[in-house]
């Protein structure tokens, strides 16, 4: 199977790899997995609590090129967005942007799940 050019770009030069301070109450962490292939993805967001804007995002993914590219793209897309806007990102948009083939659609689902998990983690931590 051939990867699309955009997948290869994100794979060779992933954007926003790393981690944010988990203990910071402005940081939300999402950890999700795809048991069908053994992938695990961590996506973190840092939010400005005054404006609800995502000011930074980092990820670390152990998985195939498509999973890495999907999460790299997800961090790029959420940055600068409000958490509500970020919550509405659909995996199909990731599929389209990266031209993922049907067998790799679950990678984009994983990235969407990771965004949602990070946001709900942020929200629950603010409530505590």
């Amino acid at each position: 199977m051939a990867y699309s050019e955009k997948v290869i770009d994100h794979y060779n030069e992933p954007k926003n790899v790393g981690s944010l301070d988990k203990s910071d109450t402005n940081v939300g962490t999402g950890l999700v997995g795809a048991p069908e292939c053994g992938d695990v993805m961590k996506l973190q967001i840092q939010v400005n609590p005054e404006t609800d804007e995502i000011v930074d995002a980092k990820f670390k993914t152990f998985g195939c090129g498509s999973a890495i590219a999907s999460s790299s793209l997800a961090t790029e897309w959420v940055k600068g967005k409000s958490i509500d806007k970020a919550m509405s990102i659909q995996n199909t948009e990731i599929v389209e942007e990266l031209s993922l083939p049907p067998v790799k659609i679950h990678c984009s689902v994983l990235a969407e799940d990771a965004i949602k998990a990070a946001i709900s983690d942020y929200k629950s931590r603010r409530e505590d």
């Binding site: 950890l31 999700v32 997995g33 795809a34 048991p35 069908e36 292939c37 053994g38 992938d39 695990v40 961590k42 670390k60 152990f62």
Partner: protein, 205 residues
């Protein structure tokens, strides 16, 4: 568990393998959704006799080999190719415990609505942690620490593989109990994560 004994389409003798009649040496036409246990002619069970599987594979691969059908009519030639591919699929799936367990689960879980994504509690966090630790070890090339991790992971991998047989045995007694199949699904998912970790560790002598 057994299946109805099929008969040769040519001489009507009972078939051992669905691919070939050992009595009259006729290739057997087959559907592509054919059961892999029927391909090998062994009963549908997690417990298998490995020697029997090996022997059956050797015998069938000789009989089905497309080289022997060079002079045969086109249709038979194609059937021998199709049968050889099917034989290899069945053999490679059934010989290895995790693949065999996965295939049996696929057979048994039909219509049972299992959750295919279950993992043991806290497992994902642990796998992420282990993947990160492995990153560090690979970067530092600390071979003794890598060997230690390799050994630990292999022990756990073996442990997971040891769960299959008793669960399938339980399921034989309680074929209505979907929870047993769900547990198998969880172990198979965990196995995949461990294998992904093990695949990243370079082999040393």
């Amino acid at each position: 568990m057994t299946f109805e004994q099929p008969a040769c389409q040519k001489c009507k003798s009972p078939l051992i393998s669905r691919l070939f009649c050992f009595s009259c040496n006729a290739l057997q036409p087959f559907e592509s959704e054919i059961d892999l246990f029927e391909v090998m002619g062994i009963s549908i069970d997690f417990e298998i006799n490995s020697e029997e599987l090996e022997e059956r594979y050797r015998r069938l691969s000789l009989e089905l080999h497309p080289d022997f059908f060079e002079a045969a009519p086109e249709e038979e030639k194609r059937l021998s190719e199709k049968a050889s591919v099917m034989l290899n699929t069945a053999y490679s799936t059934l010989r290895e415990p995790t693949c065999r367990a996965g295939y049996l689960l696929f057979l048994f879980a039909k219509g049972k609505n299992l959750n295919e994504r279950t993992l043991p509690d806290g497992f994902l966090q642990e796998m992420f942690f282990l993947q990160e630790s492995l990153d560090e070890l690979l970067e530092s090339s600390d071979s003794s620490a890598l060997n230690k991790m390799n050994e630990d992971l292999r022990t756990r991998h073996k442990e997971i593989e040891s769960y299959y047989a008793p669960l399938f045995k339980n399921f034989k007694d309680l074929p209505e109990d979907s929870d047993i199949l769900q547990q198998l699904q969880t172990h198979l998912n965990a196995e995949r994560y461990l294998r992904r970790l093990l695949d990243r560790i370079p082999l040393t002598d």
